[in-house]
């Protein structure tokens, strides 16, 4: 089965973390970027032709992904393509996924061999075996398969696409951009579609000035009885990192063994760009408890319930609690940090004190000194 992958880098924002990068390139889990999970899912399913649709701020993403070597995508045929906005649509970039697809028609229609398309976003992280989703889609005979997760809808969180099923598993209701109630399933923004059908539907939608994937194609199509929808329920860990609070909670939940096991080893390894860092050194007086620690760190101080990325330095007497500390950040002697997210390359001067709250962690921007 030839399958093409399309990754949307998503333009939702996560506070200051998306100031100079896309959602897809937000660092996560000590050594990854959001997009690594989507890429690794596609890689494991044998997808060798992947397009990455990106609107803005894609420099750090391109730098991270390079030629896609780590995910087996450095190929002569197929491989990886960056589908950035065309200059001709200078008035606006893309208004929705369908519009961005319509400008990427050349990519989409290149070669006839691809039969199915997996569309995947980069705000929802999972370690999912897509071969099962692809098989379920073929077996269903429906137009679209939506991958969903139960237990996400809670009546408060805004859900891109919420779906309600009856006892037979048939769709009875759909809601878009709505704080759906608990008995709805949340879309994980992963779709499987037949390529030919997607191409035709996209053209038709655009002709009617409809460009929103969830609202116009999936929900609108289903309501008009034009589109049949199959729902695949994923039972592993799905992390919705759509706000700073969610990002922070999800990061710290990685210290739970079952969460970590499922996200990092669930169906397959998660691949990322290789950095040749030495193993982490734990000093004479360090005290590290309940932490996820990447390579290359120099730890002389204390850390508890935190995620430490690569090449982090914690000096003697510093105390770090419930924090996410990104690459190359240095925490000076005697500094005290609680509920803090340090972006890359931050310097915390000796004795500094930063205390945030669980709901509102302090974010220190990349490269700053505090």
């Amino acid at each position: 089965m030839n399958v093409m992958g399309i990754i949307f880098t998503n333009d939702a924002t996560v506070g200051e973390l998306t100031n100079k990068r896309t959602m897809a390139s937000i660092p996560f889990g000590g050594r990854y970027r959001h997009v690594d999970f989507a890429l690794s899912n596609l890689c494991y399913a044998g997808v060798r032709h992947v397009g990455i649709i990106s609107r803005h701020n894609y420099q750090s993403l391109m730098n991270h992904i390079g030629d896609g070597e780590e995910w087996g995508l450095e190929l002569e045929e197929g491989g990886l393509e960056f589908l950035t906005p065309f200059a001709q649509s200078a008035k606006h970039t893309y208004r929705g996924k369908l519009e961005s697809l319509s400008t990427a028609m050349d990519f989409l229609t290149y070669g006839d061999e691809d039969e199915l398309v997996v569309m995947i976003d980069s705000a929802v992280l999972s370690n999912i075996d897509l071969t099962k989703v692809l098989a379920a889609h073929k077996e269903s005979g429906k137009d679209i398969t939506v991958v969903t997760k139960a237990g996400i809808c809670n009546g408060e969180k805004l859900i891109d696409l919420a779906i309600k099923l009856d006892d037979q598993g048939e769709v009875t209701d759909m809601l878009v951009d709505y704080a759906a109630a608990q008995d709805y399933l949340a879309s994980m923004d992963i779709f499987v579609l037949n390529k030919k059908w997607l191409v035709e539907s996209t053209k038709e939608m655009i002709a009617r000035d409809k460009f929103h994937m969830d609202r116009d194609l999936v929900m609108g199509g289903w309501q008009r009885g034009k589109v049949s929808v199959n729902v695949y329920q994923f039972d592993g860990v799905a992390m919705y990192n759509e706000s700073v609070e969610e990002y922070f909670d999800n990061s710290l939940s990685l210290i739970k063994r079952d969460v970590r096991e499922n996200l990092f080893h669930g169906s397959h390894p998660v691949y990322t760009k290789v950095r040749d860092r030495v193993p982490t050194y734990y000093g004479e007086e360090c005290d590290i408890e309940n932490c996820l620690v990447a390579d290359g760190c120099m730890l002389e101080g204390e850390a508890e319930d935190s995620v430490l990325f690569r090449q982090v330095t914690i000096a003697k007497g510093a105390e770090v609690e419930k924090c996410v500390i990104m690459n190359d950040s240095m925490i000076g002697e005697g500094a005290q940090l609680k509920y803090v997210i340090l972006d890359k390359n931050v310097t915390v001067t000796p004795g500094a004190k930063l205390i945030g709250t669980k709901k509102n962690p302090i974010i220190v921007k990349r490269g700053e000194t505090v």
Binding site: R257, R260, V278, P279, T280, D287
Partner: protein
């Protein structure tokens, strides 16, 4: 096929068994033995090549090559897979004139691969071995060689006079030119020990290898045959003094020591490096390590993908290891994939890849004053059963 002419290429001798590493090299060639948490011994000479601007490396393999070949692969981790660069594995092979077969000695290994070297028509060939831990700029050595207009330059380090009889000793004139070579002399005249790192003019070495091959009494060895032959023939040979860290990790004791020398705030050997002294390794896609709330880690390295629930002191824990609750690991080298179950005690030990120390087992112990180093060793995949003891100095 087009081959770019190279000024310098390197030939890395990686075929030795390393029998003094005993159970650790039963199924692995010495250069593929894990070191420093995430590396293998061969990463050091290979990374040195890359950091010295040498982009063409022939790797001569013979003993137990499966793991080593797999590890080197296409040379991608060291950036040696580009258009005009390579990490070419060169195993022994069969040839029509029967002048082939197993590599008879270090010189014969290069002799059998004259064709490989000739393709690049190099000015200089650097000969390296895959059993030392060090960082060295070979480009500086080649520049020194060129500057002195030598036929051969040998890297040397100063060793204590009482240890000198364990090494090949180079006796030099005040200008560092070599007038005599003595292999393991009983009464050493100098303390310049050969490091087994040579730089040759390819034209000189090529001829010497052919001459040496014709001598059926030769043991086809660089130290025993090629160097004395060139000295006798009056070639200009220089000693290149090197005073950085360098360690032959050919024995259990020295392998253990070299790992221990990575530790501390100001270690004897600094693994960390800048862009020009990074040691590259093949990476496994492992997540970050998890350090439990009951874990205690003091003066130790822990590499990626490990889970630590117990106590680790003055040790190197490699990638993908598990240290169970209430377990104690002290003064030990724990190789990749090792599992130490709860309550186990490991001291002064080297635990081979994927070996397992089950619940409440005891491996090794304190060094007694009498016999200082008694290091316990487990081989690859070995299992120390629950509640059993592997005594100090024992191997499993």
């Amino acid at each position: 096929m087009y081959f770019q002419k190279k000024r310098v290429i390197a030939m890395l001798l990686a075929g030795g068994q390393g029998s003094r590493l005993k159970v650790l090299t039963e199924k692995t060639a010495k250069p593929a033995v894990p070191f420093g948490g995430k590396y293998r011994i061969i990463d050091f000479p290979l990374s040195n090549c890359v950091n010295s601007g040498i982009d063409t490396v022939g790797i001569l393999t013979q003993y137990q090559p499966l793991e080593l070949n797999e590890y080197i692969g296409n040379g991608q981790p060291w950036g040696l897979n580009k258009t005009h660069s390579c990490a070419q594995v060169l195993p022994p092979y069969e040839r029509h004139d029967k002048k082939s077969g197993w590599y008879k000695g270090t010189a014969n290994a290069i002799y059998q691969n004259l064709d490989f070297v000739d393709r690049f028509n190099p000015d200089y060939v650097v000969i390296l071995s895959g059993d030392h831990i060090y960082k060295m700029d070979y480009a500086a050595m080649v520049a020194y060689h060129e500057q002195h207009n030598a036929s051969c330059t040998i890297a040397v380090r100063n060793v204590p006079i009482e240890e000198a009889s364990r090494f090949g000793i180079l006796n030099t004139n005040p200008d560092n030119s070599i007038y005599e070579f003595e292999e393991k002399p009983a009464k050493p005249k100098s303390t310049n020990a050969s490091m087994g790192i040579y730089c040759f003019n390819w034209s000189v070495l090529r001829e010497a290898l052919i001459t040496d091959e014709e001598d059926s009494s030769s043991s086809n060895d660089f130290g025993k045959n090629i160097i004395p032959m060139l000295l006798n023939a009056g070639h200009k040979m220089m000693a290149y003094p090197f005073d950085g860290y360098w360690k032959d990790v050919g024995t259990i004791d020295s392998l253990w020591e070299a790992n221990m020398e990575l530790l501390g705030k100001d270690p004897a050997f600094q693994l960390r490096g800048d862009k020009n002294s990074t040691i590259y390794a093949r990476n496994s896609a492992l997540p970050s390590s998890y350090i439990d709330e009951d874990a205690k880690i003091v003066n130790a390295f822990v590499a990626e993908g490990s889970e630590v629930y117990g106590t680790v002191k003055h040790s190197v824990i490699s990638i993908g290891c598990t240290i169970g609750k209430d377990a104690l690991v002290e003064d030990s080298v724990v190789m990749p994939g090792v599992v130490i179950e709860s309550g186990a005690i490991v001291r002064h030990a080297i635990l081979g890849e994927n070996s397992k120390v089950c619940k409440n087992a005891v491996v090794g112990g304190a060094f007694s004053a009498k016999d200082k180093k008694k290091i316990s060793v487990t081989s690859k995949n070995a299992v120390v059963e629950a509640n059993t003891v592997l005594k100090p100095g024992d191997m499993l």
